[in-house]
């Protein structure tokens, strides 16, 4: 809508950038007690994107959001909104709205007044604002509760009001700080769908914070995985899941078996022969050897077949435990180098097989599914 009045921005891929963080550093405190909460964070977020910041507690997700919203200032680095540096703009001049983790609804106002607050502050006329509030109430399906006090509605409803309030002024970017973490499982699933719908319908760029990897995978266009103030990997959910750059990302997203192996040869440009627990497998990705030729190999639990008789290039293993979890059966195995391995087998009634503890089995790794991890590099700082 605003495209014509704005200078054309440099393009990445084929989409314009909504938010760019360039070399952001943020330290809290000064001198010896200073704490580096963001360490050289650079990300590009495209317009219309559902972008997720994912990482464990304390990794700096909220800090990054607060810098974008303007509540805090970076120690170093730049934030661009549609190509323009917004360092000088206070939060109330940034066309960016936030859904706060605890919602921060105004307790002395009704639901409708909360939603209309931003419009009132922007100087919208009464009638225009009334229409917009009504449309927002409809969007979040809260029409019947417009006159309630915010203390008189449920957590899920408060969540919707917070969303409607932040969406009402049609911001260019919406920041959501773990908006679903306070909801119960079922409501959370519903709101995930709802949020995705709202994002598509409004076409607003969402920057969504969560520490729930499943939520991130399900909702995002792209994910930035963070740890200890750094962005480790940015990519589409599939990329992150299938090709994590390092052990942390592999471990944090989904279930993973990370085995150490030894390089024995190269099969192709990005494929290596690796000896793991007595068998040789082909693993993909860059080989980050740690001098002595050992490498880390990621194998997802669902990427193996469990055979009852030996076969070439299979890893021998002994069953330690078997857990039935509905759609899947989870096998807890021990390899002959002493490491543990989890395998996940899809259940189907005709080929159900019960393997008792102590049974000898052989694991066949699906082709293209063993991943080399870029060494065991822990964050250096």
């Amino acid at each position: 809508m605003l495209a014509l009045s704005q200078p054309i921005q440099p393009q990445t891929a084929d989409r314009r950038l909504a938010v760019q963080a360039i070399g952001l550093h943020k330290s809290y405190g000064t001198g010896a007690s200073a704490f580096l909460a963001l360490d050289d964070v650079s990300i590009d977020i495209a317009e219309n994107e559902f972008f997720t910041l994912l990482g464990p507690s304390g990794c700096g997700k909220t800090t990054l959001l607060r810098l974008i919203a303007g509540f805090n200032f970076p120690t170093n680095g730049q934030i661009l909104l549609r190509g323009k540096d917004i360092a000088a703009l206070p939060p109330f001049r940034r066309p960016i709205n936030t859904v706060f983790q605890n919602y921060a609804l105004f307790p002395h106002m009704s639901v409708a007044e909360n939603i209309g607050f931003g419009l009132k502050m922007l100087g919208w006329t009464k009638s225009r604002s009334v229409d917009r509030v009504a449309a927002m109430l409809k969007l979040v399906r809260m029409e019947t509760l417009a006159d309630r006090r915010t203390s008189e509605i449920s957590g899920g409803q408060q969540q919707r009001v917070a969303l409607a309030r932040a969406l009402a002024p049609q911001p260019e970017v919406l920041l959501l700080d773990e908006p679903l973490s306070a909801l119960d499982y079922k409501l959370r699933k519903e709101m995930q769908v709802e949020l995705k719908r709202l994002q598509t319908e409004t076409g607003i760029t969402f920057i969504f914070v969560t520490h729930d990897q499943e939520e991130a995978l399900a909702m995002s266009d792209r994910i930035a995985v963070m740890n200890r103030g750094r962005v480790l990997q940015v990519g589409r959910p599939r990329e992150i899941y299938n090709a994590p750059v390092d052990r942390f990302v592999a471990d944090f997203i989904g279930e993973s078996n990370i085995l150490s192996g030894r390089l024995v040869g190269q099969a192709a440009a990005d494929a290596h022969q690796v000896r793991i627990a007595g068998a040789v497998a082909t693993a993909y990705g860059k080989a980050g050897t740690s001098g002595d030729g050992t490498v880390q190999v990621l194998i997802r639990p669902e990427h193996v077949d469990v055979l009852d008789s030996p076969s070439s290039d299979c890893i021998p293993a002994v069953v330690e435990d078997e857990v039935f979890v509905g759609t899947d059966t989870r096998l807890q195995l021990r390899l002959n180098d002493g490491s543990t391995f989890t395998a996940r087998l899809t259940n189907s009634p005709e080929q159900e097989k019960i393997r008792t503890s102590g049974t000898q089995v052989w694991l066949r790794i699906h082709s293209h599914s063993a991943r080399l991890l870029g060494g065991d590099h822990v964050q250096h700082r």
């Binding site: 509540f71 206070p90 960016i96 002395h108 106002m109 409708a112 607050f117 502050m121 002024p169």
Partner: protein
């Protein structure tokens, strides 16, 4: 059959007794400290005055009450309006209101400043705010008297700066009384406002900024409504003692600029008119009650309007 009913009855009386015993301390406090004295005042106000103070018990008279508003002219015995009393009423109300407003205007920014400091610094500030309370009221008031007197530092500085050429009469004016009231009661305003600001969720302020409210709009639309209970409590805590103040107007207002507290004291002392004193006290009580009702109605009404 009857025994069951009897047992139930004894149990009921036992329980009743127990309940009374539990309530007794509270009731005793209320009767001894509140209802009792009030009753005594009421009774005294409708008795004839005793010749050397006190009241002539058993001699019913409404003189105490009529003397609040009218008095007998000593020369021709006609009834004239007791305008001295009414002027004092008016001054008390006016000074108490202005003092409340002034403490509100000074106290709110102070409390806000303290509430937005880091946690450790906050308690130090609160300590500083309460330190004046540790000193006797009379001493603090005399200190102000010293400051404002004709040879006091304030006049000296003004003369030295060449702003005036002879001492300005500051002591024994309404202004001096007002200054004293504001100084003495300011902490009573700061404390409750601070308490409600400290309880306020500062995320709301950020939410306000996020939704395009400038600093002044955040203050007006979010901070002030959120700490309204503190503003109300502070105003009540200042207004009530200010309207009945005794020491401050006595010391800083001299004999002329009396407030109701001084007028009442006069009746029980030199005036030897206890019924009038009692009636005046009840008037003060009524004024305070009415003011409180108006104030609380007004402020909660505004809140309802907010609710739409």
């Amino acid at each position: 059959m009857s025994s069951i009913a009897e047992m139930a009855a004894t149990r009921r009386t036992a329980e009743g007794r127990r309940r009374w015993l539990l309530k007794a301390p509270a009731l005793a406090t209320i009767v001894i400290a509140s209802v009792g004295p009030l009753a005594v005042m009421l009774v005294y106000s409708v008795m004839a005055k005793g010749a050397f103070g006190g009241v002539a018990l058993g001699h019913f008279s409404l003189d105490g009450w009529t003397n609040v508003f009218v008095e007998r002219d000593p020369f021709d015995d006609t009834l004239v309006l007791a305008d001295a009393n009414l002027i004092i009423f008016w001054r008390s109300i006016k000074l108490a209101l202005v003092a409340t407003l002034a403490t509100l205007l000074i106290g709110f920014p102070t409390a806000y400043y303290i509430a937005t400091r880091p946690e450790q610094v906050r308690s130090q500030w609160m300590l500083l705010i309460t330190i004046p309370f540790w000193t006797n009221l009379l001493i603090r008031t005399f200190a102000i008297m010293g400051l404002l007197s004709n040879q006091g530092p304030v006049n000296n500085i003004l003369i030295w700066a060449g702003l005036i050429d002879k001492p300005m009469q500051m002591l024994f004016t309404d202004g001096a009384v007002l200054l004293g009231l504001v100084y003495v009661y300011l902490p009573l305003m700061v404390l409750p406002i601070y308490a409600s600001l400290e309880r306020m969720d500062f995320n709301l302020v950020e939410a306000g900024y996020d939704l395009y409210a400038t600093r002044s709009k955040v203050l007006w639309h979010i901070v002030i409504p959120s700490c309204k209970p503190g503003l109300i409590a502070g105003s009540i805590l200042v207004f009530i003692p200010a309207i009945g103040a005794y020491v401050t107007p006595r010391v800083l207002g001299g004999g002329k600029n009396m407030m109701m507290g001084n007028l009442i004291e006069l009746q029980f002392g030199q005036g030897r008119n206890w019924p009038l004193g009692a009636a005046l006290s009840i008037c003060l009580l009524v004024i305070v009650t009415v003011a409180l009702i108006i104030y609380i109605r007004g402020s909660s009404g505004k809140e309802n309007a907010h609710g739409g």
